[in-house]
Symmetry: C2
Subunit: 107 residues, 2 copies
DNA sequence: AATAGAAATAAGCAAATAATTATATTACTA
DNA sequence: TAGTAATATAATTATTTGCTTATTTCTATT
């Protein structure tokens, strides 16, 4: 696959509102699936499938801890994606209110 | 539309192999539709529709000159897209061989 | 005015994609 | 080891998208 195709594939991944939000959220801190589900207010399988695409595309990595799977960014070799994320307002405000109320996963 | 959605839309536009190639080509020089058709070896309506999407997304601007419509980049307010394009090898080599042989539009 | 070339638009179709619902897997806990 | 919570996978559906073919519009030329 050419470099151009590689970049096109990465941009296609980020060209989705939900996935771009997820990546922006992960820039604030690593999150587990159930937190992302809470924040984006969609179904668990939907997020799970988005995470798989992001992982297959090499944009995030997962780390299982107990019952929870935490995802974090994996962009060391893709500085141009960090430049894109700089363009987006921080999504930090979405994180606080959503979690720690009905979930145990962050205690 | 939020800033995040704006960026997602722009990335969706660039997340297509043909459109990303077109934008990379326009970084070398402005081109008319028939030249892009020659270079990408696809149909004229196909390119025409890609150009409309890129124009609607504010990534390129057109200038009609005679029978020909020339497109050029319009990225002053989107530096993060220039950062993306830096990641892609120059597509200049695609331009030379394709044009000026069967076309009049560059004479 | 008639013709020809360049580009745009319209209509149709197949493939890809995002989402949902249902089910399976994995890991913790009582 | 049964039960439960978190996540993944499978199957399905609806929508979107990229491309093709056919037609139209616009401009220049004769």
């Amino acid at each position: 696959m050419s470099k151009l195709e590689e970049v096109a594939d990465a941009l296609k991944l980020l060209g989705d509102r939900n996935r771009l939000t997820i990546v922006a959220l992960l820039q604030v801190k690593e999150l587990c699936v159930c937190e992302i589900v809470d924040i984006l207010k969609t179904s668990q399988p939907n997020i799970s499938q988005h995470m798989r695409k992001l992982r297959d595309g090499g944009l995030v990595k997962e780390s299982r801890r107990g019952q929870w799977v935490y995802y974090s960014l994996c962009l060391e070799d893709k500085p141009y994606i960090l430049d894109i994320l700089k363009e987006i307002p921080s999504q930090a405000a979405l994180i606080e209110p959503a979690i720690c109320e009905t979930n145990d996963c962050c205690t």
